[in-house]
Symmetry: C2
Subunit: 293 residues, 2 copies
Amino acid sequence: MIETVAYLGPQGTFTHEAAMTLFPEPATELVAYPSIPDVLTAVDRGVSDIAVVPVENAIEGSVNSTLDWLVHHVDVPIIGELVYPITHCLLVHPLQAKCEKAEFTRIYSHPQAIAQCQLYLRKEHPGAELVYTESTAKAAEIIHKNPDHPWLAIGTGRAAELNELYILKKEIQDHPNNYTRFIAAGKQKKVWNQSTDLFKTSLQVTLPSDYPGALYQVLAAFSWRKINLCHIESRPTKTGLGNYYFLIDTEFPDEHVLMQGAVAEIEALGCQVRILGSYPCFNKKRMKTVIER
Amino acid sequence: MIETVAYLGPQGTFTHEAAMTLFPEPATELVAYPSIPDVLTAVDRGVSDIAVVPVENAIEGSVNSTLDWLVHHVDVPIIGELVYPITHCLLVHPLQAKCEKAEFTRIYSHPQAIAQCQLYLRKEHPGAELVYTESTAKAAEIIHKNPDHPWLAIGTGRAAELNELYILKKEIQDHPNNYTRFIAAGKQKKVWNQSTDLFKTSLQVTLPSDYPGALYQVLAAFSWRKINLCHIESRPTKTGLGNYYFLIDTEFPDEHVLMQGAVAEIEALGCQVRILGSYPCFNKKRMKTVIER
C-alpha cells in the first residue's frame, strides 16, 4: 500500500519541497493541508500515515503551532527531521518588471518570510506596504492574478515558475545561513533508506514545582552522562502564569542505555517525562546524491 | 519635556492598550509604528524615548522579531515588563449578524490571534477560510468596510467599538489564562510610579563552544545562589547550524550582589554575558487601583 504524507500546503512552498525530499513520489502520495493542526490531526486520526511540518525558523507556519499541537492535542511521535536551506526571491509580474524600486507599493508574503528579509526590505523598499499571506505560494499567486498593480511577492523560485513571474532578485534573506527544520511525524516507526550519523530524542519535561535549581537537577542527569543537548526551551503550560514545562532535544537515540538512565533519573526527581520522538536527522545539503529528484 | 512612547500599532490593538497602561497620556505622547523593528529602531536612533512591544505569546507581533532585534540590531535595554490578560472576541458587521454559523465564509485576524483560537474555530467554523492580517485592528477594519460579505474578524472589544461591529461571541480563545508579556525598552533608566515585588534581569549568554554540560555549568552559577530562572531558551546565532546562545530571565535585579557574582562566574567559564535589561515587572490585574484610565 502506498503511504500517504500530509504536509502544510499549498504546493510550491518550502514544506512541499521538504516533503518531496523526505518522501519522493511515486512511492508515497503527498496531500496538502491548509494548516499545521489539520496536518497533524489527519495523522492522529489515521487519515494519513505521515505528517511533514516546519518546526524551527519556519517559513509557512509557526513553530509554536507545531510544538503546541504535538504536546497538547495529538499523540503522533516524531519519526524524522530534515534541515532544509531557505533562500527567498523577490518576485514581480512581467508587466511590472520595468518599474523603479520606489514605484512598488506593496509586498506580499508569509509573516515569517517578511521577518527574514526585514533588513533588505527596510533598505530597498522602505515605502512599500507589507501585506501578510497564509503562505509564500499564496503571495506569488496574488501577483500572478494582479498584473496591473506594481506589487511584489517574496517566495520560492518554484513559485515564480508556477505563476509565470520574474525573479527580480535572488537571496534577499538577511542571513546567509538561513534554514528551516522540518519534522516528519507518524504512528509507525519508519525505516529510512537514507543514512545519517545524527539521532535525536525530543523530550517534554514537566517539573514538580517551580523552585530555584529544579532545571539544574534535570540537566545534571544529562551532563554527567555526556548527553549533549541541542535545544532547550521553557514554555508556558497554559494553565496560568509561571507554570512551565521544558522541551529538550538531545543528540542520543532513546534506546541507548545512557538515555534510558537519564530519563529514569529525571522521573525519580518527581518530574514527568514524555518522549515526543526518537529519530534520525537528515540534512538536505548532504542528501543530494541519495535522493534523485 | 513630554516623553514619547513608540508602540506597535495601529490603534485599538493589545499593544496599544499595554502602552496606555504603562504610560498614561497626557504625561506621555504615544506614537504608533507599523512593525516591531520600526518601534525599536525609533528608540535606538533617539526619535522616541521608549518602545512598547510584545515579547511572549504575542497577538500583534512575533516574539522572535522582538528578541532578534533586541539581540542583533539595536542597543536598547529593557526597562519594564507588563503582563496583560488577552481575551479574543468574534466580531461581525451588524448587517451580517443574523447569518447562520455555516454561512460565514471568511475569518480575518492576525496569525497569532487565529492560533490562539484554533480549537474554537475548528469546532464552530470548520468551513471558513482563515485570512491573515497585520493586526487584529486591521481585521476589524476590513469587516467594517465590507458590510455586504458574510465575514468575521477576531479582535478586541475596543476594535468592535471603533469599527461599529457587533460582538458575536466573547472569550473565544482556547485557553482561559491567556496573556501577553509586553516590554518597555529605552536608553534611560525609568523611575516608575507603580510598585511591584518582582524584578527581573534578562541575560544573553553565549557559550565558548558546543560541548556536553556547558549549559549545566552556567546554570550551576544560578542554582547554588538560589537565583530562580523564569525563562530559558536556546536560539540559533544565525551564523550557521548548531551555534546557539541562550536567553535567560532571572528573578533578581542586576545590582544584587548574588546576581553580580553569578555573572562574574559565568564569564570566568569563558562565556560572553550581555545584560539585556534589569527591570520591574507589573501585572495589569494588580495595577487597576494604581493607574486610572
